[in-house]
């Protein structure tokens, strides 16, 4: 127990150092800092704008009315905002580190390689938008009249969704160990994310199965929102948890195998 606490403190201190470094770096390039905020705001605008345009012409999409769909969008953006702030940059840096042989330096550091690679780059600019997306989530939650249990489960489900998204992306990123040019894998990762921007019921049977079982991106947002809106039962939470555990297992196996495949570019 004491050992675990010491470990937690150690990683906590490391994470604080990463954050301080990222904050100092972000504030050194102010134009880029502002542009990042503008990009995120425009992205949120296009997501809500698209939903508004569609509901201007239809009353319901599948089983959801406008308020329910906007809640889905708000939930997606909340997970996306956390992802953008805490992890997104790390995937791009990992691609570059791998190609340039910089991974050597991270492999000899006294911390778990996954922590160093995927927790090191924090996008401080996106952090400032957290009140906006959480505000939108709470507002849309009130509009759809979430039950007290749903309100209690909401933060937990956001974190579970984020965890599933990240483990899936780490698994996809392991493919970079086999490719020479890695940007394509990062683009694939982004495309997988774009599939999850829409609820599962818009996809036909084959795509639903593909993106729920093999690449479970549809479980990231659709499953928790179905549960919160009570359009489906508790079984969706079971699928979400099962997918997360499955992904964690695969990451631990594949990542170990991928590291064995690693040939430093510099040595």
């Amino acid at each position: 127990m004491k050992n675990l606490r010491t470990q937690m403190q150690y990683y906590g201190t490391l994470y604080r150092s990463f954050f301080e470094l990222c904050a100092a770096e972000a504030l050194s390039f102010r134009t880029h800092f502002v542009l990042l905020i503008v990009v995120d705001l425009i992205f949120y605008g296009t997501m809500f704008g698209t939903a508004e345009v569609l509901y201007h012409h239809v009353e319901e999409i599948g089983p959801w009315n406008r308020s329910q769909f906007l809640f889905f969008v708000a939930f997606f953006l909340t997970v996306d905002q956390l992802h953008m702030t805490l992890f997104a940059m790390s995937f791009w840096e990992f691609s570059s580190d791998l190609r340039l042989g910089k991974l050597d330096f991270w492999l000899v550091k006294p911390a778990h390689i996954l922590f160093i690679v995927f927790f090191r780059h924090i996008r401080v600019a996106s952090l400032l938008l957290a009140p906006l997306v959480w505000g939108a989530l709470i507002f849309s939650g009130i509009q759809v009249g979430l039950s007290p249990l749903s309100w209690c489960m909401l933060p937990l489900l956001v974190l579970l969704s984020l965890a599933l998204l990240i483990t899936m992306e780490i698994l996809l990123s392991a493919a970079m160990f086999w490719t020479v040019e890695n940007d394509g894998i990062n683009f694939l990762r982004m495309q997988v994310q774009s599939v999850g921007r829409w609820p599962d019921f818009i996809y036909q049977y084959l795509f639903q199965k593909l993106f729920s079982v093999f690449i479970p991106i549809l479980l990231v947002t659709s499953a928790p929102v179905h549960y919160l809106l009570q359009t489906r039962g508790e079984e969706v939470l079971f699928f979400l948890l099962a997918a997360l555990l499955g992904m964690l297992f695969l990451v631990s196996k594949v990542w170990r195998y991928a590291l064995l495949r690693y040939e430093s570019a510099s040595s």
Partner: protein, 277 residues
């Protein structure tokens, strides 16, 4: 005075440089085929699949009732042409160009007998050759899978012409955005910003008829509809109610963006130092 023989030699010399650059660009792009697929084709194919599923299900939920004047088949065909247009217009992005500036590699271009803009235009043309082949395959595939119910040679020819001009406008915009690397550390934010606005305002996600009247009138004054909506409607052979005819508007916007690029290049070169060269 240049004699015809000298002129012909000069033209042949220039043509060789252009052809060599285009050929090099094609070889470079196809060197890593999986990466090329994931980088250039993957995003467009996934976008089409999402759009196809979305509109298919929307019409299914409404039991086939039209949306914004579009029937199910018309909307699916629209999305199919969006894919073809995207293949012909949106391949180029200015990442390499911005890196050339940021890493000081443009010093080489300053002493080469081939300008920086010529090299990148040649690269773009090389990519367009590949994209044209892929777009042709896509049209055939979409026709045989029933996404396109009918194909008209006239509309196809006009559509490809407009899409290629839109591709040039896309390239010029990307080129101008890449030149911001003279001033800012990272230009990818500008590219993403442009792509986000373009996807929403160009008619890629939904036809512009679905926008409210006031929003459509504003959007039609911008260059964005000419990147997707106008080429798609030309492919479909539909009548367009535009403030300016498509070729005139595309020429106008291309000249405006090219002028901005020229201005940015001149300003940027004044402050370029190429440290360590």
């Amino acid at each position: 005075m240049i004699f015809p023989s000298s002129l012909s030699r000069l033209l042949s010399y220039e043509l060789k440089k252009w052809m060599a650059t285009i050929s090099l660009s094609i070889t470079q792009r196809l060197a890593y085929k999986v990466n090329f697929f994931l980088l250039f084709l993957g995003p467009m194919l996934v976008f089409f699949l999402v759009q196809y599923n979305l509109w298919h299900s929307l019409f299914l939920f409404r039991e086939g009732a039209p949306i914004g004047g579009y029937t199910r088949d018309e909307m699916i065909a629209y999305q199919g042409w969006v894919l073809v247009t995207a293949l012909l217009t949106q391949g180029f992005h200015s990442r390499d160009l911005a890196q050339d500036i940021r890493l000081g590699r443009i010093s080489s271009y300053l002493i080469y007998p081939f300008d920086f803009w010529q090299y990148h235009l040649g690269t773009f043309l090389g990519l367009q050759c590949i994209q044209l082949c892929i777009a042709t395959t896509a049209v055939a595939a979409l026709f045989f899978t029933g996404v396109f119910q009918e194909l008209s040679a006239t509309h196809l020819f006009l559509g490809v012409s407009v899409a290629l001009c839109a591709g040039l406008l896309w390239y010029l915009i990307q080129y101008a955005l890449g030149l911001f690397a003279f001033w800012i550390e990272q230009t990818w934010t500008l590219r993403v910003l442009f792509a986000l606005i373009a996807s929403f305002c160009s008619g890629a996600i939904f036809p512009l008829e679905l926008l409210p009247e006031w929003a459509r009138e504003i959007v039609l004054l911008s260059p964005f509809p000419y990147l997707t909506y106008v080429p798609v409607k030309t492919f479909l052979g539909a009548e367009l109610d535009l403030p300016l005819p498509a070729p005139v508007a595309l020429t106008f916007w291309s000249i405006v963006v090219w002028g901005c690029g020229k201005l940015l290049w001149n300003r940027g070169m004044r402050m370029y130092t190429a440290a360590g060269m």
